[in-house]
């Protein structure tokens, strides 16, 4: 992955390497809050927001702490702190943003409110940070990748919840009702996204 391959960072993140349907990250909100489009939209908004923000902040941490050759005048290699620092930083960042939103934008807070703390340590959020670190992306490409990965999750969530709202009204054989038809649907949806492979 070249650092400046923006096609891969944008279209690739949304369609080809979709976080939910190709990488199988963030399955929990994908199944959990996809029963209604309204809740799916709230969760999608929160995910785009948190994934963009955490990509930026973890890229900063990665470049200035984890990759630093020297610290306090001694030679160090702190790469092994990656997961620990990422989780701590993402969780506290979301906490700060939540506190600020509550005061500055009560409307947005009500829309994202309950979803924000739910996903602070979601695997999709940590996954985007780890993928950025693994590819050693710069701060700006990381942020772009985070934003578009979030959009990819949002797309999957909204598509899936729309299908589930339809399923609610169709005559489904009894053994398939509920979660089983949802999982079958998710599989078929993922197969559809495989069709994008090779695009970039």
């Amino acid at each position: 992955m070249s650092e400046n391959n923006y096609l891969e960072l944008t279209v690739g993140a949304v369609l080809v390497y979709n976080f939910v349907l190709s990488r199988f990250l963030g399955i929990c909100p994908f199944i959990g809050v996809s029963k209604k489009i309204k809740t799916a939209l709230g969760m999608a908004g929160a995910l785009v927001f948190v994934m963009t923000l955490s990509s930026f902040i973890t890229a900063v941490i990665y470049h200035y702490v984890l990759r630093a050759q020297t610290m306090f005048g001694v030679a160090v290699n702190l790469g092994f702190l990656q997961i620990l620092l990422f989780i701590v930083v993402i969780a506290s960042l979301v906490q700060i943003v939540e506190v600020m939103l509550q005061k500055l934008s009560p409307g947005l807070y009500r829309a994202l409110g309950i979803y924000l703390p739910l996903i602070t340590t979601n695997c999709a959020v940590l996954g985007v940070a780890s993928l950025n670190a693994k590819a050693a992306r710069g701060i700006w490409p990381s942020t772009v990748f985070g934003f578009f990965s979030g959009l990819g999750v949002a797309l999957a969530l909204i598509l899936f919840s729309s299908i589930r709202e339809r399923l609610e009204l169709s005559a489904i054989p009894r053994p398939f009702q509920g979660l089983s038809i949802a999982l079958v649907t998710a599989g078929i949806l993922a197969m559809a996204f495989v069709g994008f492979s090779g695009l970039c």
């Binding site: 001694v74 702190l78 506290s92 506190v99 600020m100």
Partner: protein, 281 residues
């Protein structure tokens, strides 16, 4: 050793900075919230049914504290909960009485003749849109379960294409009333046990053609107990009275010829009987 020390130092430093920032942010961006709102939210049932007319329990609690409404508006709370909220806020409970929903149709698959086969979207609103619905009676319950899906308490069950309300689960929030495309669901005082399970204003003979359980307007009930029953045109209703609910024994005494007049318990049992079983002896 240097790596170890550096790791501890870096982690501690980042944690310290984040902690301080969160602390400062919480101080700067503190939202003044009324402690009483939290208290009332604790006391409320948390069903978020919207039966009070507000968007969920938190909104209702806010309105309560601001004095815009009264605790008894909550249909889900028991008398004790309402009293507890009223005393916690130092306001009067307000007048209100418990209600329960009733589906005023007794025509399940065995009683009403269908005039079409419907294979569309399994939803009453969609079914009612196509040619006035597939049931022979255009005032009959379609039995696709729109009300059952709307009920936050699972109090409505669909049996043999007929919605029935389990009164012990119903809290009277009224969500189902809004969903029924045929307006068959009514909120009635919670104590009432006797209902006329028919909503069709058509003539008796027309109803008999399509349904075995429709009210034919024979006035038998009105003659026996005019203070309880009233027949308007060809449809009888119960005059619901919160303080003096009709005596369930009246159903037996009246002996409705079509069994449109039933107690709530009998309505629940319709599905267990065959068409023959429901015929008059």
């Amino acid at each position: 050793m240097t790596t170890f020390l550096a790791a501890v130092a870096v982690t501690a430093l980042i944690a310290l900075v984040l902690g301080v920032v969160i602390g400062v942010a919480a101080r700067i961006f503190r939202v003044k919230s009324d402690a009483r709102v939290e208290l009332v939210i604790e006391l409320l049932p948390g069903a978020n049914c919207g039966g009070c007319g507000f968007a969920g329990c938190a909104d209702f609690a806010k309105a309560l504290v601001e004095g815009k409404t009264t605790p008894s508006r909550c249909a889900v709370s028991s008398q004790g909960t309402v009293a507890a909220i009223a005393s916690a806020l130092g306001v009067s409970a307000g007048d209100g009485f418990r209600q329960t929903a009733v589906v005023l149709c007794g025509g399940d698959r065995n009683q009403i003749h269908n005039n079409a086969l419907y294979n569309g979207v399994a939803d009453c609103v969609s079914a009612a849109l196509i040619g006035g619905g597939f049931k022979g009676c255009e005032y009959g319950c379609l039995g696709m379960g729109s009300c059952a899906r709307a009920c936050p308490f699972g109090a409505i069950e669909i049996v043999n294409n007929l919605a029935i309300v389990h009164a012990e689960l119903c809290v009277g929030c009224g969500k189902c009333v809004a969903t029924c495309p045929r307006k068959l669901i009514r909120l009635v005082p919670a104590g009432s046990k006797v209902h006329v399970y028919c909503s069709s204003p058509r003539k008796g003979a027309e109803k008999r053609k399509v349904c075995d359980a429709g009210c034919i307007g024979c006035r038998k009930c009105q003659k026996l107990a005019p203070e309880v029953f009233e027949v308007a045109g060809t449809l009888a209703h119960v005059k619901y009275d919160h303080d003096h609910p009709a005596d369930p024994a009246l159903v037996e005494q009246v002996g409705c010829p079509t069994d449109a007049l039933l107690t709530a318990e009998q309505h629940l049992k319709i599905e267990h009987e065959t068409p023959e079983g429901r015929q008059k002896k």
